[in-house]
Amino acid sequence: MNTVDELQGLSAELATSLRPHALAVDAGEVPEIPALDIIRDIATPPDFRTSDLPKCAQLYTETCLARTAANIELSRGDAGVLNICRAPSLAGLAVDALGSAEQQEAFYRVLADERPWTFFGMTEPSVGSDATAMQTRLDKDFRLHGGKRYVANAERGGIGVVFARTGPTPLSIRAVIVRNPSPGYSGRALTMFGLRGAALGEMTFDGIEIPRTCLLGAHLPASRRGLWGAARTFNIMRLQIGAQALGVALAIADYVHQLRPQWKPLMATRLEAARELLLDCAHDVDNNPDDRRAPSIGKLHATHLAVETARWAEAALTPGGLLEHPLLEKWCRDVHAFEFMDGTSNIQRLTIGTGHDDN
């Protein structure tokens, strides 16, 4: 057994501790679950971990392959519960990519000392996926104005990364570390249709004073200080989202096969094939971090298949059966969330289609 297999096994073991809390989290509760502390440490770069972990855990932050493999199994427990984990998540990846050594140290010190949720403010209500059109701005006096929406942990998060415009061009979009509470910061949770553990919300910035030390990327070339510097972060996160979608789909299939062992076994094979695809895409990202097509292929397929799996499950039940299986009904809502995270299907299609020109 190699270390990725070991990490996958460890993740499957941790996932069993998540499942019992799935419906409570869907109902809005935020239970304390010891397994989430372990997952949080696994998702933290080794230099900033607060506990001893098996050697295989080291891989999680080192390779996209390990991160993807682990997320499939963790989400097979329950992706909603996984999303209440106080992990560095996308904010951590952005700080890893854009932050200096001092900024990384400061960011992870806060995570270790305060155990906050993190947020990643990119999307704005009026421009959606068109990040280059964002309106949030960082003034010359380092005050942040504007707002973001559909941001995980917008209300409860304690620290995160927010992208803002410092000038008119895409290169002038920069990232800053923001703390909550801060004078001028307000966050509000939104009512989610599914995957409620992610706690999407909106945040407004009314002249928040940003310390100059919190501007990320100053030590990098101009072309890699902002949006483009974070591109690799999105590649990794897209596969993580695809992995979570597949994990939920596997949970659905497990559940259905327990109810109806003979029900259309083709789906199980399709899901295992999707795992192979995601892992191959993750391997491609590890070999070429700037490859945008592989993560889009993986995410597009996994999110589509997850929704299809939910319909397959519905057909396996007696009429009205979804109302008699609340966990299954919840997962049939959850699978739709991944469509809107880190690029919709149409965004992935455009990335994949445009990439044909490179071949």
């Binding site: 999307t123 209500p125 009026s126 421009v127 959606g128 996926s129 068109d130 280059t132 059109a133 929406r149 559909y150 939104l190 009512t191 989610m192 249709f193 599914g194 999407l200 909106e202 929704v307 319909r311 519905e314 057909a315 396996a316 039940l317 007696t318 009429p319 009205g320 059966g321 979804l322 109302l323 008699e324 009904e329 049939c332 809502r333 739709h336 969330a337 469509e339 809107f340 919709t344 299907s345 149409n346 299609r349 455009l350």
Partner: protein, 190 residues
């Protein structure tokens, strides 16, 4: 039946699921549901019924499983057809007000293609319902088709369709899912 189908579609389109469901179930009893849960308008729940869940004017009540009634399923499909058309209008309104890269989102080819596919599917579904007659499989197929179309349309709303910002901005997925759950109670087993 053609007239009834048209009336149910109009009710769904103009008044929403709860009113449309009441029309689709006119004269029916919960025991006609093919499973152990019947979707019923909250305003007309039979006295003494055990409510499993209530959402936006639709209640899910316990019942004894009966034989599937293809006429109820067809009328409900027509109601859902009206809801799907309503969703398409909402999507067009939403995307007409947005731009990507300085251009109207509604004009993007991927968007136009998805809207065209949804339009064709709903036109075909309506004709299927008028000729489905005694073919419950055809009616069930219309329901599955509408579930697919609803999702393809909801995707075009982006994350705004997945959340409720306030009481005036309910995400489309809440209604889409309720429509699907309701249908599941009235379609016979696969």
């Amino acid at each position: 039946m053609r007239h009834t189908i048209a009336e149910c579609e109009r009710a769904g389109h103009e008044h929403g699921l709860s009113v449309g469901l009441a029309m689709a179930l006119a004269g029916a009893e919960t025991a006609q549901a093919p499973g152990r849960v019947a979707a019923w308008p909250t305003s007309g729940i039979p006295s003494g019924a055990t409510v499993v869940r209530e959402e936006r004017g639709v209640s899910f009540v316990r019942t004894e499983a009966g034989p599937a009634d293809p006429e109820i399923a067809a009328r409900l499909a027509a109601v859902r057809l009206g809801l799907t058309r309503r969703l398409a209008e909402r999507v067009v309104e939403h995307l007409s007000a947005r731009k990507v890269g300085g251009e109207p989102t509604i004009g993007k080819q991927l968007v136009q293609g998805a809207l065209a596919d949804a339009h064709v599917a709903t036109e075909a579904a309506r004709r299927t319902l008028t000729v489905a007659g005694d073919c419950p499989e055809a009616v069930a197929d219309v329901h599955h088709c509408l579930t697919t179309v609803d999702w393809e349309l909801a995707k075009l709303l982006g994350a705004s369709g997945f959340v409720s910002v306030d009481s005036s901005g309910t995400g489309a997925m809440f209604e889409v899912h309720l429509s699907r759950l309701t249908a599941h109670c009235w379609i016979g087993a696969a």
